[in-house]
């Protein structure tokens, strides 16, 4: 077989996918769309629900300190949710005016931001959680002796710090394996692009 370009085109275009029922395909796509919407909705309502539950279950009206600690937790959760949404939501897939270069830049920025959330901002989140919990514990443990209170504060701080640090390290390790190669590959693709 001669390998001129027309032959290659014929060979290439001879590949066909299996024909299948379009009605089932559309039904499947609709189902997927509903599922994705449900997941997004769940992500959006879980934070307000948790905050609502905390305010409902804690005696925040009786003590200013507990009220402050709940505000800190609410702020930390909303802050993290905001960052998570920002790192996921993009209109780059839908826009017909979005060039490939812009798409790559947006994807790189989005993935790098996700990386940054795990590496940097989650420690900020941990600090806020520790602050809020220690304020609450300071008030709730008031009847106990000083040594017991200090011990509990220390144990709480150390165990939560250790747990969060372990979780963050795990996440960063996962991102090192998944996101880093993606970012690098996309950066390499951007570098390949000439000025148009």
């Amino acid at each position: 077989m001669e390998n001129n370009f027309e032959d290659m085109q014929k060979l290439w275009q001879a590949q066909k996918p299996v024909e299948f029922d379009l009605t089932s395909l559309v039904a499947g796509l609709k189902k997927t769309e509903i599922k994705q919407r449900r997941e997004q909705l769940f992500m959006l309502i879980i934070t307000p629900l948790t905050i609502g539950f905390l305010f409902w279950s804690m005696p925040w009206r009786e003590n200013r300190g507990i009220e402050i600690s709940l505000y800190i937790i609410a702020f930390a959760m909303i802050w993290v949710l905001g960052m998570a949404i920002r790192s996921k939501v993009t209109n780059s897939d839908s826009s017909e005016r979005f060039s490939n270069e812009e798409y790559l830049k947006t994807q790189i920025a989005k993935l790098s931001y996700r990386y940054q959330i795990a590496k940097k901002y989650m420690y900020g989140y941990t600090f806020l959680l520790l602050l809020a919990l220690n304020i609450s514990y300071y008030i709730l443990l008031e009847p106990l002796s000083t040594i017991t209170r200090v011990g509990i504060h220390l144990a709480l701080t150390l165990s939560l710090t250790g747990f969060m640090h372990w979780q963050i390290r795990r996440k960063v390790k996962k991102y090192d394996l998944e996101l880093k190669p993606m970012i690098e590959q996309m950066k390499a693709m951007l570098d390949q692009k000439p000025e148009s």
């Binding site: 077989m1 001669e2 390998n3 001129n4 370009f5 290659m8 085109q9 060979l11 290439w12 275009q13 001879a14 590949q15 066909k16 996918p17 299996v18 299948f20 029922d21 379009l22 089932s24 395909l25 559309v26 039904a27 499947g28 796509l29 189902k31 997927t32 769309e33 599922k35 994705q36 209109n91 780059s92 897939d93 839908s94 826009s95 017909e96 005016r97 979005f98 060039s99 490939n100 270069e101 812009e102 798409y103 790559l104 994807q107 998944e178 190669p181 993606m182 590959q185 996309m186 390499a188 693709m189 390949q192 692009k193 000439p194 148009s196």
Partner: protein, 167 residues
């Protein structure tokens, strides 16, 4: 009764499925992963069809969505993609209508395409689909003149790779 979105989707699916399918295979040789990529592209096309405003040609939009999805998909490699609840048996076809000799040639063609740089790969695949330079330029984000320059190099490169003895 079918909604206008469904009718529009069916129309574009019928006219573009082969091209999208081949583009998937060009990016991911593994048929199972290519199937996942095909599904991911269909989900995106369905999801964003309402936002298509006819400012550009529908083919350009489809290729752009397909190419951008393929880039991120191939970059994340075996990471689990968004799965659609699509009907079973929707496997991408083994090219039954292709002879064994053609299959060998096809493998060589895939190898040749895969050895190209990322932008050249998509240009090569779009060229194999007889896509106009203007569309290729719009999809890849490079100028039409530069596409023309690249096309000659790609054609020569592919021909040489598939026919190293120059017979």
């Amino acid at each position: 009764m079918k909604q206008s979105k469904e009718i529009e989707f069916e129309r574009l699916y019928k006219s573009h499925k082969d091209k999208i399918f081949r583009l998937c295979l060009g990016f991911i040789k593994d048929r199972e992963l290519a199937n996942d990529l095909f599904q991911e592209i269909l989900i995106k096309l369905w999801k964003h069809l309402d936002s298509f405003r006819s400012e550009s040609d529908i083919s350009t939009w489809i290729y752009r969505v397909a190419y951008n999805t393929a880039i991120t998909f191939s970059a994340k490699e075996k990471k689990q993609p968004a799965k659609a609840d699509l009907p079973s048996g929707m496997d991408l076809a083994e090219p039954e209508n292709i002879s064994q000799e053609q299959e060998v040639q096809l493998q060589k063609l895939y190898e040749a395409i895969n050895s190209l740089a990322e932008t050249d790969r998509i240009i090569a695949m779009l060229l194999l689909e007889n896509t106009p330079y203007k569309t290729i330029a719009e999809v890849t984000g490079i100028s039409e003149n530069y596409v023309a320059v690249k096309v000659n190099r790609i054609k020569t490169s592919l021909t040489q790779m598939l026919n190293p003895d120059g017979k």
